[in-house]
Symmetry: C2
Subunit: 209 residues, 2 copies
DNA sequence: CATTGTTTGTAACTAATGTTACAGAGTGTG
DNA sequence: CACACTCTGTAACATTAGTTACAAACAATG
């Protein structure tokens, strides 16, 4: 686990001195698949870096309707937590473990200092922001320019890439939530995808062909 | 114009030394209402700061469908240009003057140095990023959770706030483009808003009541 | 293996949004 | 004022997505 952290940080260009500090002040956190990591309305005191597994970041409205914003994969961090903390704002999103995952939690109060003192960390944080920004734009593209059929298929392909597995283990209901639509609609379109031989359907499992 | 720049920057907490440098290496640019400032596919060599007026930032897909992402008002800057430049990527959005506007253009090659040397500038850039991030999220909320009627009304109220005028001088066609829908649909819903006495319609003009 | 809860399939219907077509009103210009 | 052009209103229709309702398949558990 520690090796994982070190390799991730040094690959991101973080210098040894800072890596040691991150090891010292941070701590690991494991989450089982499905576990809620950040809830809307809370205030983040830690910035999580994903060491293993996969997290989903989901936006919610007042009526608890949801939409998937993006995934966080190994090596990535939650720029939004950072922003939330710097500005002292509440989280208005929720983060869930999509797989069994391991995170490295860094207390927020070190952030400002490190951003100031370490060029490499600055770069890491900036580039995280930028990546998230790009992904938000891609999400906007999907909801704006695609119909639900294409959005669903793209969703499946994205998930395939994020999990590096052609098998998606989810119920139609769960998918419907990520796309902010209803289960019946998802079932209908999935069946259509199956008829067109793009996927195969089983209970709690979708195979991408 | 210069006074405007100085007051904006010092209000953002930028120190005098840097303000002077920004004045020295930058230059003003005026744009008439409707003028295109950044086109998709181009590479930005300058970061624009809005001194006067109002810019719109619009996302486009391959078929030239569009959606408004957010406005840039006085004092704000285009974080996306910055990101584009740092990563050397193409712009995949377009920026248009919504009113007659004045910008201060800063050559990109100073950015890295200033971010490194000036705490205040770092903060300014970070906070710009954060503001844009929040606005993207709000845009996602609107597209995802609102029906077109509510989205349109929110669009009008947002525009009212951005221009500080209860009169919106646009054709239905222009509004339809910002919302990625058709003119006929916008006309239909505007008429409904008028019947409910929330707005008044004239040619090329909508009054918010 | 009976019971319960979850998941999926499907039909029938409703609502929202998009499209096509056309008329009439307003504006600018020679 | 005649003409061309843009903008708006509206009807009729098509398509997409959302809803309700129900049955059957499957899984977990005692």
């Amino acid at each position: 686990m520690q090796e994982n952290l070190i390799s991730i940080l040094s690959e991101a260009g973080i210098e040894d001195e800072l890596i040691q500090e991150i090891q010292k002040v941070g701590f690991p956190k494991t989450a089982r698949s499905g576990e809620l990591i950040i809830t809307p309305g809370s205030t983040s005191m830690h910035m999580p870096i994903v060491l293993e597994g996969l997290l989903s970041v989901v936006r919610q409205d007042e009526d608890a309707n949801e939409i998937l914003l993006y995934y966080l994969e190994g090596g990535e961090t939650c720029a939004m937590s950072l922003a939330c903390c710097i500005e002292g704002k509440r989280n208005d999103f929720k983060v869930t473990a999509e797989d069994d995952s391991v995170l490295w939690m860094i207390p927020m109060n070190y952030m400002d200092e490190w951003i100031q003192n370490y060029r490499s960390f600055r770069k890491y944080v900036f580039s995280s922001y930028q990546t998230r920004f790009d992904e938000l734009l891609e999400t906007i593209d999907s909801i704006t320019f695609l119909n639900l059929y294409d959005r669903l298929y793209k969703y499946l392909l994205d998930k395939k890439q994020a999990t590096k597995s052609y098998e998606i283990k989810m119920s139609h209901e769960q998918i419907a939530q990520h796309l902010n639509t209803s289960r019946v609609v998802v079932s209908r379109l999935l069946k259509q995808l199956e008829n067109e031989e793009k996927i195969e359907l089983e209970r709690n499992r979708i195979s991408i062909l």
